[in-house]
């Protein structure tokens, strides 16, 4: 873990599911008790876990990609930037199940991760960085 010049905190891990717990520990260690109201801290942690899990399971399942998780705090919101050098992929363009009518009748039980992310954060955006990496940004407003 390192601290950047602008006060942002970063964690770099390989795209391996063994590192998921480290990512959660990193994020939960950055969120202060009064940062978010109600269950906001738990919701934000869950959303970040889902986003990083997607990269590890689908973006770079071979485990050789590098994932960088950057946490920033400002008076209005907490943000997590997830950058990886897996093949370019924009998850914000994926249409997930909107209304889940009969969840147990779905033949394929996966696909809920993106739904969770969209419901738990206030803003979700994607871009390709100048050095050609995926960057997904999750924003949770503080009030």
């Amino acid at each position: 873990m390192s601290r950047g010049a602008c006060g942002a905190w970063r964690l770099k891990v390989k795209s391996q599911l063994d590192n998921l717990g480290r990512v959660r520990d990193f994020v939960s260690g950055q969120v202060l008790p009064d940062d978010l109201p109600g269950d906001g801290a738990g919701e934000f942690l869950l959303a970040v876990d889902e986003a990083v899990s997607n990269v590890m399971m689908h973006g770079a399942p071979s485990g050789d990609a590098d994932i960088e998780v950057q946490f920033t705090r400002d008076p209005a919101a907490l943000s997590v930037f997830i950058r990886d050098d897996a093949p370019l992929y924009d998850p914000t363009k994926v249409e997930g199940p909107g209304v889940i009518d009969s969840p147990l009748e779905r033949s394929e039980p996966g696909g809920f991760g993106l739904v969770l992310i969209r419901r738990l954060v206030d803003e979700l955006s994607y871009r390709v960085t100048e050095d050609g990496r995926n960057e997904l940004v999750l924003v949770k407003k503080r009030a």
């Binding site: 889902e50 899990s53 969840p103």
Partner: protein, 119 residues
């Protein structure tokens, strides 16, 4: 702090036999297959009713829901046609269930005793 997933298995011999899987730790994208495997072992041994004791789950992601979904479908397709029941969900479990509306889909009970009495 993240916590490794542990699953203990017990059998309740009441009016009907129930296999209880007691989960503690993090149920995430790495560990959800452990839950599926434990449930598969129980089904292979002839269990037709499976109850998950979830009070010790410290983190759960959508992969945990994926495992529950899978177990539920296997139980329903079995000869007993049983439903998966969930007992004493922790905050981490409730967060996922409620956000996706699965608290209205699964049979969820506040305590293990309440769940066992429902059989």
């Amino acid at each position: 702090m993240s916590n490794p997933l542990r699953i203990a298995v017990s059998e309740e011999r009441g009016d009907v036999p129930v296999t209880i899987l007691h989960l503690t730790g993090d149920l995430d994208s790495k560990t959800y297959t452990d839950l599926e495997s434990k449930a598969d072992e129980a089904l292979t041994k002839g269990s037709s009713r499976i109850l998950l004791d979830l009070k010790g789950v410290t983190f759960m992601g959508s992969a945990g829901l994926r495992a529950m979904h899978s177990i539920s479908k296997k139980l329903k397709s079995g000869s007993g046609g049983a439903t998966l029941k969930l007992a004493s969900p922790s905050d981490a479990v409730s967060r996922v269930l409620k956000t996706l509306g699965f608290d209205q889909v699964f049979d969820v009970y506040g305590t293990l005793d309440e769940a066992l009495k429902s059989y």
